[in-house]
């Protein structure tokens, strides 16, 4: 990280501006208070670990500092926003650790040389569950690690719509009886939506285009993120939607009447990944964060805390499953996730996203 102390790095500018207005009114001698830069939570500074993540940031920040004594500033943004910020800051990165949905995206950061390249590995990798192990072993030398696994989309429906009780698979999205009442988050804006739509292209690109073209012809509605999709489903604007797994259970937890189908073809699976910046100046703190995040205690804690989407499936086999969740056929056994080839997924990302963007009308 570069020198982040704003009062210091802004000094030349502040001087220039105060000089510019030598009438000496509002600006003279006014440097920025570091507290102002950071919303009053933690003072921004060169030595403080900065984490870009999506969701449950507050719960993590307090607990991490309590457990390790290391100061951390957590910047909570949407998944797409985090990746875009990292790209925008390429000349001058302001982050040390990224923790975001979609291990394919994190792996692309690794391939672009944005993640740290050395041979350090957290101890917790030896405790990975079978599923996590499968993902991890593909690139055991990369500076990123799976933290939790979930489905970027499963089929959710509003039971008050006629015909929804017969839904068994993804074809419901192109079923004419739900025409105009199908929804999904926009893969260009929402982080989890890309692994979801991309999974349909994996075996055969043409088949993927054909499937989604049918869905568009059936009048699908695209939303900025998962929350408005869930809301539209509840109010009956939508009958069927592809909805992120944690989000779906968040709604079920709130007592909303919502039906869930794990399609017979299987649900796409994706991991949230955590990675360390190649540019970090606080390497040890960053490693401590990764180690802490993967430990059984933290993974237990993450299954228990209250946050917007109450669903955290641990990847550490010493952690206990999530007790907050309602009974589900799959949660006792193994959820039938289908993992896409994430290297391939990164390669076709621009092509698929561009096609989707051009379909949105």
């Amino acid at each position: 990280m570069q020198d982040l102390k704003p009062s210091a790095r802004l000094a030349p500018l502040v001087l220039a501006i105060s000089a510019a207005f030598s009438g000496g009114t509002a600006m003279a001698g006014q440097a920025i208070d570091a507290d102002d830069v950071d919303a009053g939570e933690v003072a921004l500074s060169d030595d403080v670990l900065t984490v870009y993540l999506h969701d449950h940031g507050d719960s993590i920040a307090a607990r991490f500092t309590e457990d390790t004594g290391i100061d951390v500033q957590i910047v909570d943004m949407s998944g797409g926003e985090i990746l875009a910020r990292i790209e925008a800051e390429r000349v001058n990165p302001q982050w040390d650790v990224v923790y975001v949905m979609g291990h394919g995206s994190v792996h692309r950061l690794h391939e672009d040389g944005i993640l740290l390249k050395d041979d350090w590995q957290p101890e917790a990798v030896s405790d990975y569950t079978e599923q996590a192990q499968k993902i991890y072993e593909r690139h055991p030398d990369a500076s990123w690690w799976p933290v939790t696994i979930s489905a970027p989309a499963l089929l959710a429906y509003n039971p008050s719509c006629e015909g929804t009780e017969d839904i068994t698979g993804w074809d419901a999205l192109r079923d004419p009886q739900f025409e105009g009442r199908i929804g999904m988050p926009n893969p260009n804006i929402s982080g989890p939506a890309y692994p979801y739509v991309a999974s349909f292209f994996e075996d055969d690109m043409d088949a993927g285009y054909e499937f989604w073209q049918d869905v568009f012809d059936n009048g699908v509605r695209m939303y900025r993120s998962n929350s408005p999709v869930a809301e539209a489903l509840m109010t009956g604007e939508l009958c069927v939607a592809g909805l992120e797994e944690p989000n779906t259970y968040g709604e079920v937890e709130k007592g909303e009447d919502i039906g869930i189908v794990y399609p017979e073809e299987g649900v796409p699976g994706a991991a949230r990944g955590v990675g360390i910046s190649a540019d970090t100046s606080v390497r040890d703190d960053a490693r401590a964060f990764v180690e802490w995040l993967l430990s059984a205690e933290t993974q237990d804690y993450l299954t228990e805390i209250e946050h917007r989407n109450k669903f955290f499936q641990p990847v550490n086999r010493n952690a206990s499953p999530n007790e907050l969740l309602p009974p589900n056929d799959f949660l006792d056994g193994e959820t039938p996730y289908v993992f896409s080839d994430y290297v391939w997924m990164g390669e076709v990302e621009a092509e698929i996203k561009r096609w989707f963007a051009d379909q949105v009308m």
Partner: protein
């Protein structure tokens, strides 16, 4: 954000001004200061954006010339093509409808006397100051399939509002104040002697209207129409709010999407920005042409405020007026207010659903509103301070100086009127997100200063034009005689100009303050991570369908901002009562 572009004042220097020009010129210091400030605020960011069109990988320090393929994408990519067409359709439709509404209201208001007429003025200013994304969110809540309109039994509202004609209507109701204010200025003066002359020459009523009255008003109508067009095509708040329930691609939101979603494309943002600025530029060029050709010097000493009779139809006019106000203000803002007291939005406004919990949540410990309030108010105060100082000094130079930098100052202090906030913010990213600046220790991008400087740049034209209006009424002889008696430049500015324009300066500063608190376009593009601000957290709460929280926060922040404005006005008027007497006498 927008006000009427006034052409530069006093092109030919009076003998006194020429005398002043020969006086010991400490002007050059002011010129240097203002030029430097405008360079940093306006010229460099926009140049950086243009450079990016030529060198798309500039932000990585790579000077490879672009292949301009992206310009071809404008008609090859369906999304881009659609958003350009949509933006043009929406802005043109809004221009027509908004001008009809604004000019129609101004016509009624200035030709007839009826109860509630003065409410129109209030409504126009109120809607003008309200940020468009807050109004748009009110409309979304009002017209959703389970929204307020549906609960009132008006299910057709949903189908109507979420369509092109519906969007045009909503935007026209948001932007009509510009047309109203622009035409009011022309309509409030009585020039009936021209009409009387025509009637004496044998013209009938229709001919008089067609041949005399309308041609005199055409420049005002044209200005009104162009202003509405420019403000509609560059607006970011409305597409941002509507997008959560309705896909309707528009250029401003796509600019945001190019830099804020993967794959990030700064060059895409530059190309779309260039298109947007070209469209706005074409509209303004058209306006200048119309103004040049139209007769607009009909106001002479014989003009008097129009005599307004109370027509027999006054109950009808009152009814039209009230229906309109209900639509423009009550539908969106009343909805937001009512939603802020609802426990669950989907259950509607019933007694059992009423709660204060949203307010308690918003104001409780750990809520992001309080840090965001502090951040946004800091940004707005500082931006208002900067644009006040730059605006005052620039207006002084434009009104009284004959320095050769005047042309640059005139252009630079006007140009951001024509550059939508979202484009200006893109320029700021290009300008400040560069390695060599970081190496010099100047880190503006990623700090609140990016928002502050960008907000100030967007507001300078408003400050300059308002202050210039007040200053141009101040005779140059006051300044010259003070100078002859040995008063230095800053003494003259402080003791002569300041008191004369204090009222205007105060209005300008408070207007800048209010718009900067709520500017979604600039803030969302430049907000540093971990630095919550009001428009972004409200937009975020709205996006994640926490409607209760979003509306409660909106109500609180709007009330606070209004309170600050009222308090500031009161305090300044009380502290300097005589300054206000001067300007009020002047106004009489």
């Amino acid at each position: 954000m927008t006000s009427v572009p006034v052409r530069s004042i006093a092109p030919t220097p009076s003998p006194l001004a020429r005398l002043m020009g020969r006086l010991p010129a400490s002007d050059s210091l002011v010129v240097w200061l203002v030029t430097g400030a405008l360079l940093i605020l306006v010229a460099l960011p926009l140049t950086a954006m243009l450079l990016h069109l030529a060198f798309p990988r500039l932000y990585l320090g790579d000077f490879t010339l672009g292949d301009f393929q992206l310009f071809r994408d404008l008609w090859e990519r369906r999304l881009w093509r659609t958003s350009v067409t949509n933006s043009l359709l929406l802005a043109t439709g809004t221009m027509v409808l908004g001008t009809i509404i604004g000019a129609g209201l101004a016509w009624i208001r200035h030709n007839y006397r009826f109860p509630t007429a003065s409410l129109i003025d209030f409504a126009a200013w109120f809607v003008l100051v309200m940020p468009s994304f807050i109004i748009a969110q009110g409309w979304v809540l009002f017209s959703r399939s389970s929204g307020t309109a549906a609960q009132l039994g008006m299910h057709w509202v949903n189908d109507f509002v979420f369509s092109l004609p519906g969007l045009i209507t909503v935007m026209a109701l948001t932007n009509f104040p510009l047309a109203y204010l622009a035409t009011s200025a022309a309509l409030q003066w009585d020039v009936s002697r021209y009409e009387q002359a025509a009637r004496l020459c044998g013209a009938n009523a229709v001919q008089t209207l067609w041949r005399v009255r309308l041609p005199l008003l055409i420049p005002a109508f044209a200005s009104a129409a162009i202003l509405v067009f420019v403000d509609s095509i560059g607006d970011f708040g409305l597409p941002a709010a509507f997008l959560s329930v309705f896909s309707f691609p528009l250029i401003p939101y796509n600019i945001r999407a190019e830099v804020a979603t993967v794959p990030v494309s700064f060059e895409g943002a530059a190309v779309l920005s260039f298109v947007l600025v070209s469209l706005v530029g074409a509209a303004i060029a058209l306006q200048i042409r119309v103004l040049r050709n139209g007769g607009r010097d009909f106001l002479t000493a014989a003009a008097a405020p129009r005599n307004r009779p109370k027509p027999r139809l006054w109950p009808l006019l009152t009814a039209i007026n009230l229906v309109f106000l209900t639509l423009a203000i009550f539908a969106p803002l009343g909805t937001s207010l009512s939603v802020s007291f609802m426990d669950r939005y989907s259950q509607g406004l019933t007694l059992g659903n009423l709660t204060l919990n949203n307010y308690i949540d918003v104001l409780s410990e750990g809520s992001s509103l309080l840090p965001a309030l502090r951040n946004s108010f800091f940004i707005a105060f500082t931006a208002a301070g900067i644009s006040m100082v730059v605006g005052f000094l620039a207006a002084y130079l434009l009104a009284f100086s004959s320095n050769r930098m005047k042309q640059f100052i005139d252009v630079a202090s006007t140009v951001t009127l024509a550059v939508p906030g979202i484009v200006l913010a893109v320029g700021y990213i290009f300008m400040w997100n560069q390695r060599w600046l970081a190496d010099l220790g100047i880190q503006v991008y990623g700090s609140p200063w990016a928002i502050i400087l960008c907000s100030a740049a967007a507001s300078v034209p408003i400050a300059v034009r308002i202050v210039l209006g007040a200053m141009s009424q101040t005779p140059g002889s006051f300044m010259a005689s003070a100078a002859l008696q040995g008063a230095g430049l800053f003494t003259r500015l402080r003791s002569i100009l300041m008191p004369m324009v204090l009222a205007g300066l105060l209005s300008a500063t408070l207007a800048v303050f209010a718009t900067s608190v709520f500017d979604l376009a600039i803030t969302i593009m430049l907000q540093p991570p971990g630095y919550p601000t009001i428009p972004v957290i409200i937009d975020e709460a709205f996006r994640t369908v926490e409607y209760g929280w979003a509306t409660a926060a909106t109500v609180i922040v709007c009330s606070l901002t209004a309170l600050i404005i009222v308090a500031a006005r009161w305090a300044v008027r009380r502290a300097f009562p005589s300054f206000f007497l001067v300007s009020e006498d002047h106004a009489k």
